[in-house]
Symmetry: C2
Subunit: 334 residues, 2 copies
């Protein structure tokens, strides 16, 4: 009988899920709102409604199959514990609950266990979004057969997954792979993590926007960016302006690639990967981003690693990557 795995991608707005086979083919998918369950007290209902919607999807498939597992990608997920711990934008305490002394940083959701109760004897795996993307690349994508590689996800933040000896590095506590928070400029840009100068303040979708606006002050070239507010601009627009020859947008991509290339040259000294995959919205910009990443990485590479490490776009880039990545957790565990 055909075997399928559930992949579930939990975002702040929606929860997308689908049934995937071991080759990465998606047979059915659906979505429920995450945003409709904003409070801590909404979480049990969210789990119930998600499980119901998953069962509806199971019955919508017009052939017999065996459900062999459920894989979940979620913010702040801990693979070892099966938990989602203190997520910044999910299932928060109300102002009243906070006033009554409940602490946001003590919210722990036993997600794998809670969802698993609705699917008896089906194993449930959970990890964070970047780790799920990493395993997706390893199971279905360009990293198939590789034992040592790095995945970098460039989204609102910068995520990462490091694979060594054929296994994802979860670390002692399950929270490894926070490469977006290596310091690349000591005392540099304010980061959402409370510190300054983290990689993601320079190379995320928001990071490149910060760079472009900094360049509006340091360069004097005319630019379509000069007619737009910070809140009007996004990284896709900067990519479009750059493609049309805007000097400031081009320079923003060069500086973004430089910061990432420098940081990757350092990461390579630690794990000596075969390849580095770049995933996420910014990666769609193509050569204008990849060329400076490669150039500055090689310029700063220790001799032993020079011209050995491939920098590649993720092969899951234009697919349902988040669902595929989450489902890959199941095949990876087999």
């Amino acid at each position: 009988m055909k075997k399928l795995a559930f992949g579930i991608d939990i975002g702040g707005i929606n929860t997308a899920f689908g049934l995937v086979d071991e080759k990465g083919e998606l047979f059915a998918n659906s979505v429920i709102s995450t945003k409709a369950y904003p409070n801590y007290s909404d979480y049990p209902q969210y789990i119930n409604d998600l499980a119901e919607a998953m069962k509806v999807l199971v019955h919508s498939v017009n052939f017999e199959f065996e459900l062999i597992g459920i894989g979940i990608g979620a913010p702040n997920a801990n693979y070892y514990n099966g938990t989602v711990e203190t997520p910044a934008n999910l299932w928060k305490y109300t102002n009243e609950e906070v006033a009554a002394g409940l602490k946001e940083e003590e919210r722990i959701f036993h997600f794998a266990e809670d969802l698993g109760k609705h699917f008896l004897n089906v194993p449930v795996y959970i990890t964070n979004d970047a780790n799920a993307a990493t395993i997706g690349e390893m199971v279905y994508g360009g990293a198939k057969g590789m034992k040592d590689f790095i995945m970098i996800t460039l989204g609102t933040g910068v995520g990462s997954g490091f694979v060594a000896n054929g296994e994802l590095i979860y670390g002692h506590d399950g929270f490894a792979g926070e490469f977006g928070h290596v310091i690349v400029e000591r005392g540099g840009r304010q980061c959402g993590c409370g510190r300054k100068g983290c990689l993601e303040t320079y190379t995320s979708a928001i990071g490149i926007k910060r760079t472009a606006f900094e360049l509006l002050s340091t360069m004097s070239d005319p630019s379509p960016l000069r007619d737009l507010s910070f809140n009007q601009v996004d990284s896709a627009m900067i990519a479009q302006f750059a493609a049309k020859g805007d000097e400031i947008s081009k320079e923003a991509f060069r500086l973004t690639g430089q910061k990432l290339g420098y940081a990757l040259a350092d990461a390579v000294t630690i794990t000596s990967p075969e390849a580095i995959f770049i995933f996420g919205g910014l990666a769609k910009a193509g050569e204008i981003l990849f060329n400076p990443i490669k150039w500055y990485m090689e310029e700063n590479m220790l001799m032993a690693f020079k011209n050995k490490v491939k920098v590649l776009p993720s092969e899951l880039q234009n697919k349902n990557a988040a669902i595929l990545g989450a489902s890959a957790l199941v095949w990876q565990a087999k």
Copy 2:
């Protein structure tokens, strides 16, 4: 029958070797000169003489035992290939050979295979010194039972070994763990690797001396260092001066710990280790080094990792660490 493993530590001056049991007890050890075989053409004789000396040691043991393997720690060793590749200070071409067109960077010694011919059916493992120390810590030392930890060796250079999921990270090509060459000051101090600002230019035994001499220019305190030449001073003297209250030496240790603490906070985001072990001559300085390492690491730590990662002196510190570490390769491979 008792089982013993050979551990061999190949240094530029001497090659030390010994027979070790699985608990890390050293039953016999000896040494031959490495320096007496300086040239490429001396290498075959070196292997022969080493094998002979090892056999003499085997016969010196006054009980019956089974030799279950040979583990070797050597500069520029590649675990996967069993080779020593282009070592800077071993078995070099003569000036005549170089003039004849032979290239130092193409010297590859098939060490495991060549030595193995003298010990039929005994498996031979080789890796670099820092990796051997790392496995030594895991098999015999403070990392026993840990699945995720980092080893930092502070010697003439700075070496490292990263363990994740219970396995040492060798990387795609066998050369992972070059943490001494992450850039901590872009455009900073000249490094032996040809680049600038590597961690080891600041935190090795020579790095702290460079720092102390820089401080002679930036500080105006009197210091015993002001009566000594650069070549007269070593890191042990700086530790002694610091212990006696010399402000410049104390400041040199603070700055060394700061640079290492910063770099470790970044490394933790990648592998999230349970502990970081510090090994080597500088580590003997104790609190004066460990306190600033811990302070600056915690000050720069991403919230998720704060106050979770132990910084500990290696438990092999005052033992025959290099021989033990090399022999641990054998027990680790079982």
